[in-house]
């Protein structure tokens, strides 16, 4: 007979693994990917593929030639980063090469520079996205007009996003704002992972069911954004007013438009819930979510950018270690 194995207890394991978690996140992103392909055509698929493949390639190269460690490409985390990065860019032809640069920054600087999976303080996909937003401001804010997209065409007619229109403060913006229902289903312009709240909620439901994430961060994030914008809206609802003889938009948009436009849904459900960069205790997750929601609305309302989700999450990522320090689990009998 063989020698017996000796080890400390426990002698069984739940069979949970990082790989399984990452693949569940990838599964949860599929509805959003399908919606993006349906609305933006083949370009969405191409950009996603290029983004995912370049993330995997960069991770493999860095692990093999710079860090000289066994490759962890198979754990699926690079695919999550690649998909999320792709979901954060507009579906235009120039993105086919720009996204490769984003992937390099996301994986190289956002993740591997800190030592790889689990050690990065910031969400890698958002690092890549913000880098692109600052480096390629025109390309990153040129959105395809969803009503004029041809499925196999790469060059599309461009159109504005609801948040972009509002930022311009043109009087006509109010009439051109999409219906709430359309924003929920996805009939609006935007980065292609941001268009359909329904698809994101489907994926989130899957993650909640599989216990990959808990409700705390998404609910705190979206809830705070809704409540905060609701207060602003109640004080001064958006309306057209003549300022110096020119009709302009004045006031704040309603909470439903706030949470359904831009990247709040994608950010709250998939980016802010990233385990590595969010707090561990439930109480800490609530604080994190509330902070993200507040910062998003503040940046959107008073900042220079029409959208603030990426910045909000990155800012909260930076205080996650502090939150972890304050928010301890409730100890037994204390």
């Amino acid at each position: 007979m063989n020698l017996l194995n000796i080890s400390g207890s426990p002698h069984v394991h739940s069979d949970e693994s990082t790989k399984k978690i990452m693949w569940r996140v990838n599964m949860a992103l599929i509805p959003t990917l399908l919606v993006a392909i349906a609305y933006f055509g083949i370009s969405a698929l191409l950009i996603s593929l290029i983004s995912v493949l370049s993330c995997m390639l960069f991770q493999w190269l860095i692990e093999k030639y710079i860090l000289k460690v066994p490759s962890t490409v198979c754990d699926g985390s690079a695919i999550v980063t690649g998909l999320l990065l792709a979901f954060n860019v507009p579906a235009t032809a120039s993105m086919l090469w720009i996204v490769v640069i984003g992937a390099l920054v996301a994986i190289g600087i956002g993740k591997m520079a800190f030592g790889g999976l689990g050690k990065n303080p910031f969400n890698p996909a958002l690092v890549g996205r913000v880098f692109l937003l600052i480096s390629f401001p025109v390309q990153m804010t040129t959105w395809p007009d969803i009503s004029k997209v041809q499925f196999f065409g790469l060059d599309t007619v461009t159109g504005p996003t609801p948040l972009g229109m509002l930022k311009e403060r043109g009087a006509e913006a109010l009439d051109n704002l999409p219906e709430v229902w359309d924003m929920f289903l996805g009939q609006v312009g935007g980065s292609f992972g941001e268009v359909s709240a329904l698809a994101i909620l489907l994926g989130t439901a899957f993650l909640l069911w599989k216990k990959v994430i808990t409700w705390h961060i998404p609910v705190a994030f979206i809830g705070t954004a809704a409540i905060f914008s609701c207060i602003l809206w109640l004080v001064n609802p958006v309306h057209v007013e003549a300022v110096d003889g020119v009709n302009q938009l004045v006031g704040y948009i309603d909470p439903l438009t706030t949470i359904l436009s831009g990247g709040i849904m994608l950010g709250a459900c998939f980016m802010a819930t990233d385990m590595v960069t969010s707090p561990m205790a439930k109480s800490g997750q609530l604080i994190f979510g509330v902070g993200c929601g507040l910062l998003t609305v503040i940046i959107r309302t008073w900042g220079a950018y029409p959208e603030g989700v990426s910045f909000a999450i990155l800012l909260m990522n930076s205080v996650t270690p502090l939150i972890n320090r304050w928010c301890k689990p409730q100890r037994f009998a204390c």
Binding site: I6, G8, S9, H11, H13, T18, I21
Partner: protein, 442 residues
């Protein structure tokens, strides 16, 4: 349904030996009786080479405070008194006996009659528990006469009997409930009398509906025995968690159950108490589960304490399958891997659990992704991931400040870790380092 409030996991139950009735394993031809079968100091051998002993005769006397008597489980001649390696490879003082026949002490009542009346006073009960060498059979083997001798200034309000059997695979308590429900209830009544508490609560997990029904029916004939069905959640049977589940009370860090008015005993102990008090039978027999997914048959068996693992295996499943990877004494969550199958079993052993090569293997460790699953699984509200980092970096002082000593080593953190980090191992190491540090400071 009652349960503890914080953390916990639900491993695969695998109670595959549930329906195997308790069978008696033959007495081996040579017996090694360890003197250290309980928490505390070893008993002092009071026999010498050549002495004749009978079944149930005192051979190791408890001379220290934290100690328990050890009795001979066989009759025969003492061959030698010298250390023997136990199941985990550590040398322990022991008495070797060449078995001759099976002659029991005359004082022991071996009739099958069930004796209900107990006229002993509480003090006499505790003394008799000491005389009979009764220890807790839940795993910690805490001497019963110390536990039931409530210190002055403290008052017991609850007696809780742990029949949760929350560990996967183990079924010995279940079989005792199914086959000896009445004796168990008498034992519980005696313990209740010893403590002078109005009610005893027997906590049983809901995955044993037949045992709950059987115990509820039997308990009707007794005063002050309440059956408490508990949710199936590990570690329901851990002392602090069980108290929390049954009474809602919480034993503070570093305190004992009696500090919140509770005394907890294992179900197996209450059966041993019945035999000791009513039948004058010292703790010389054990009920063990012999189980494993790949075994040809499943067993629950009554063995003389001291029968070796190999003898038990020989008389139940014949031999270990060729693909055996690990043999565990206890359950899969807190049991210990056996090093030496020639070692004698001791008081408090509950199983011989045979794991296949594939089951016995750990998955490769990957990077921590800070998911917090270890923290949410911890029934003590601790942060295992942090202990792991602190211990690795030898930051023992900080580990102590974060209450590493509160860890009950239930294994929930390692069980739920997606990165397969051996958190429980690291915490165990850390606890030892903290204790060493505290000892050095004194």
């Amino acid at each position: 349904m009652k349960t503890f409030k914080m953390g916990g996991v639900h491993p695969e139950e695998n109670k595959i030996s549930n329906d195997a009735a308790i069978e008696v394993i033959p007495v081996p031809s040579q017996m090694v009786v360890l003197m250290n079968q309980h928490l505390g100091a070893p008993a002092t051998p009071i026999v010498q080479k050549g002495d004749k002993v009978k079944v149930g005769q005192l051979i190791g006397e408890a001379q220290a405070f934290m100690c328990a008597n050890v009795h001979s489980p066989v009759s025969g001649t003492v061959a030698k008194v010298e250390p023997c390696k136990d199941a985990f490879g550590l040398a322990k003082p022991a008495v070797y006996i060449n078995v001759e026949g099976d002659e029991w002490m005359e004082t022991i009542d071996r009739t099958p009659d069930i004796k209900r009346e107990c006229t002993l006073e509480p003090k006499q009960i505790v003394d008799k528990l000491k005389e009979m060498g009764i220890v807790g059979l839940g795993g910690a083997t805490f001497p019963a006469h110390i536990k039931y001798n409530v210190p002055e200034g403290k008052k017991a309000e609850y007696l809780i009997i742990n029949a949760a059997e929350c560990e996967p695979y183990l079924t010995s308590d279940y079989r005792v409930m199914m086959e000896h429900a009445e004796e168990v209830c008498i034992g519980v009544s005696i313990l209740r009398k010893a403590l002078g508490v109005p009610n005893a609560y027997i906590g049983i997990e809901m995955n044993k509906p037949q045992a709950i029904a059987k115990m509820q029916e039997t308990a009707k004939q007794f005063e002050g025995i309440v059956i408490e069905p508990l949710k199936v959640k590990y570690p329901q049977g851990a002392e602090k968690q069980l108290i929390n589940a049954v009474t809602g009370r919480k034993v503070p860090s570093g305190k004992l159950p009696i500090d919140v008015g509770c005394v907890v005993s294992n179900l197996g102990t209450s059966f041993a108490v019945y035999e000791a008090i009513q039948k004058n039978k010292p703790l010389i027999e054990n009920i063990l589960t012999v189980t494993g997914k790949k075994l040809p048959s499943q067993h629950n068996c009554l063995v003389r304490i001291g029968t070796t693992y190999n003898d038990i295996i020989k008389h139940t499943i014949g031999e270990l399958p060729a693909t055996t990877g690990k043999v565990i004494s206890g359950g899969t969550m807190m049991g210990k891997a056996v090093v030496n199958l020639d070692a004698p079993t001791v008081k408090g052993n509950s199983s011989v659990l045979v794991m296949d090569e594939n089951e016995a293997r750990r998955n490769p460790e990957t990077a921590c992704i800070r998911c917090g699953k270890c923290m949410h699984a911890c029934p003590m509200g601790l942060e295992p991931y942090m202990f792991s980092a602190l211990v690795k970096n030898n930051r023992i002082e900080e580990a102590k400040e974060h209450n590493i000593l509160d860890c009950i080593e239930c294994g929930c953190c390692f069980f739920s870790c997606p990165a397969n980090k051996p958190l429980t191992d690291e915490i165990r190491l850390g606890k030892n380092k903290v204790r060493a540090m505290m000892a050095a400071k004194k």
